[in-house]
């Protein structure tokens, strides 16, 4: 197990990178020409698709880091898995919310029990469960082992969600970028979408840096508190004084 280093220097560049990535996505998606069929509504795609992509990426990273923890038993991999899972939950929630906002004006409903939507919501709740599982114990090694097992198993959701539009008849459109025949859309829209996907990916990397820093600090607090509790308990134990009492 690797002890966290609480006094490591806090870096500021990830905050700047996140802001720039968000700004780049916004400017690119607001200046591209609208779609011929969907009109201005197509602009929602430039945040919806990158959010869904980051959900996939984050949960695959969680799986890889969890597997590394089970192999190496080094807590730095557990912190990476936890950081990626939390970010993945945020982006899954964003993909769901943006999908609902896009669905209402195009499909006429906020929600339908379509395979893609249902499986994405199940994935969202499974990774919320992963985060809840991490709060069930203060023992760092037990927490890491339990979370790593779930982190490896839960990734099965990613291909299920992605291929749900191929395997079942769904209202949701098929994959836009990650399809065997290649992307099918106007070049200007494709370039904008790729810019947004790249900007969001850079934002994810910057978020990972700060979230891992947070995990390292939280582990340091936990270790310090447990050491402090141990010291207090040890001080309270005194040698028995049998036969020397006043009674």
């Amino acid at each position: 197990m690797t002890d966290p280093t609480p006094t490591s220097t806090s870096t500021t560049w990830p905050w700047i990178v996140m802001a720039v990535a968000g700004l780049v996505t916004f400017v690119a998606s607001m200046t591209v020409s609208p779609d011929a069929v969907q009109g201005q509504l197509s602009r929602i795609m430039y945040v919806h698709v990158p959010s869904a992509w980051l959900a996939y990426l984050a949960f695959i990273v969680t799986m890889a880091a969890s597997a590394m923890y089970l192999w190496k038993r080094d807590l730095k991999w557990d912190r990476r898995a936890a950081a990626s899972a939390e970010i993945g939950v945020v982006f899954t929630g964003m993909a769901l919310g943006l999908g609902m906002i896009w669905a209402k004006p195009t499909w006429g409903v906020w929600w339908t029990w379509d395979a893609r939507l249902t499986l994405t919501s199940i994935m969202f709740f499974i990774y919320l469960g992963y985060l809840a599982l991490r709060r069930t114990t203060d023992d760092l090694d037990v927490r890491a082992r339990r979370a790593a097992i779930l982190g490896v198993l839960a990734v099965v959701q990613v291909p299920l969600v992605h291929f749900s539009v191929e395997w079942w008849r769904t209202l949701h459109q098929p994959a836009t970028l990650l399809r065997p025949e290649g992307p099918e859309m106007a070049t200007s829209m494709l370039v904008t979408l790729l810019i947004a996907v790249m900007a969001f990916t850079v934002m994810y990397v910057a978020m990972m840096f700060k979230r891992i820093e947070l995990g390292r600090l939280e582990d340091a607090v936990l270790i310090a508190e447990q050491a402090s509790d141990g010291a207090v308990a040890g001080a309270a134990v005194t040698t028995p004084t049998i036969g020397r009492g006043t009674a």
Binding site: M18, G97, L98, V221
Partner: protein, 43 residues
């Protein structure tokens, strides 16, 4: 649906997305500050 109505949906979507992102990033910053304070580390 008019272009103005479509823009309303776009603004709702971007407003939702960026508020979620800003709140999440701020939450990371606040949690880092709190934990550093507990550790007595001012960096």
């Amino acid at each position: 649906m008019t272009a103005a109505e479509q823009w309303n949906w776009v603004l709702l979507a971007y407003g939702f997305a960026y508020v979620v992102l800003v709140l999440f990033v701020v939450s990371i910053g606040v949690r880092i500050s709190r934990v550093r304070a507990r550790l007595g580390d001012g960096s």
